[in-house]
Amino acid sequence: MSERSGLGRVVRSSVFLAGLVIVLFWVGCALFGRWLVPIDPYRDDLLNTLAAPSAAHWFGTDQLGRDVFARVVVGAGPILSVAPAATLLATVAGTALGLLTGYVGGWLDTVLGRLIEVLLALPLIVVSLLVLVALGPSTITVIAVIAIIFTPLIARTVRAAVLAERGLDYVAAAELRGESAANIMFVEILPNVLPPILVETTVRLGYAIFTVASLSFLGFGIQPPSADWGLAISENYGMIVGGYWWTVSFAAAATASLVVGVNLVADGIQAALE
């Protein structure tokens, strides 16, 4: 019965399933959308700008006459490569750093603690802006900035979990048979802190999407002519006063559904692991 407890409970949670369906839908769009949409999402049609939704253009067209439906479908791509890449990098680095600081401790722990404090004092978006201004906006920079900012945050979660494990006697038992520090960190402790790492990673993925979308909206994230949702809203939101609601609504709804989906998955995993 205990074998079923972890994975089985995750899968049976309806919240988790709902989230998973949403996320998988957008992943599908990101991977195959280019071949599924009927109209080229990057083709301008200056004779047919700002057209309302119709049979020809299901979600209407934008200022340049590009098909909004095609752009929303394809727009899942950039954010779903940038945000997961940043999160993955941060998870790997943060886990290693968290294990080190939690188990080895000492000055490394003190320094990291201060650094996290400083990073927390700066809003994510603001730090990203600073670095992106300094280095110039590019996809790689966006990934690097978010990964670097998330690394200590993930390290902090891992460290807390490692500290709790470190106080347990099995770690002392391993030390008493002369195991190396690397063995104790990666063989003894790591398997026991995987659940919180998994939860942290999914939660962070949600925030990464949030941040990338916001940066794109501000013009410092994914750059034109990409079909990215944040960028699309940034390019068109001036129009909504004129009643051209379709130019931004669908991209906004898509962004919202993706972050909510990721978050539901994270919540489902967390509920099952508690």
């Binding site: 809003p123 603001v126 999407i209 909510v260 919540d267």
Partner: protein, 317 residues
Amino acid sequence: MPHLARQIGQRLGLSLLTLLLLSIVVFAGAQVLPGNVGRAILGPLADPAAVAAINHELGADQPLVLRYLGWIGKFLLGDMGQSYVFRSPVAPFVGAALLNSLKLAAVAFVIVVPLSIGAGVYAATRVGRWQDRTISIAGLSLTVVPEFVSAIALILLFGVWLRWLPISAAIRPGTDWLEQLRRLIMPALPLVIVLFGYIARMARAGTVAALEADYTRTAVLKGLPQRTVIFRHVLRNALLPTITVVASQIGYMIGGLVVVETLFRYQGIGSLILMAARGKDLPMLEAGILVVGALFVLATLAADMLQAGLDPRQRAR
């Protein structure tokens, strides 16, 4: 009591250290990362002589440590430097923007704190039932919706279709405070939406733990009325950690301000930072970011002190 004084001293010291590191990080971000400040301002195609000239003019050709000391020294005396774009001191811009942002933040906080704590506590008393699930899942989902997304929805709904609220928050001088407040409601709502789920979640978790605690059972078994149990025994212990959470969200909120102020054309610290970033106005950017960070550090410190003061275990050990 000497113990308490020592603790306060310790926390003050740590906060100062954080501020120092913060200033170094900001300085490094603005002055070191670009490699060449003049090049970063003028762009890759500019004439090398022009780049060297602007570097000299800005003092960017001096050793880093000197530049840092000069910058932070002046900063502490209230001189935040000269804006590259406006060719005038930065400080008045930052001061005015900060005041505007504080107004907006205050409106958001006044709405979100009672709302989210109330919802979190209510959910905790209905734990596992549909009311709890609804509040938890809705709160959780709203928390991750970027401000510009919810703002678009709000603008369309209240600004464009229903026409209840103005879609621009820009305030002309002389506007009376009631009109100011009215204009601030819509920009505040996206911030409320993001913060609501987070604070409600913490309040709920704290309340659930306190409801399940042995001391709550003791209170119930004394035959105390439910109101007394909740207000005297549960909430007092449940909401202490929430204080720190609320404070820690101030930093997050300012990040949100960048987006919201831009969208609603409101002249606060967020739109100032973005404007400086777009214009590569490094002194303005540095000053804005450092002020924001300092504000956050101070808020956290205040929350820490407040919590320590309210918790007898921390107060009198």
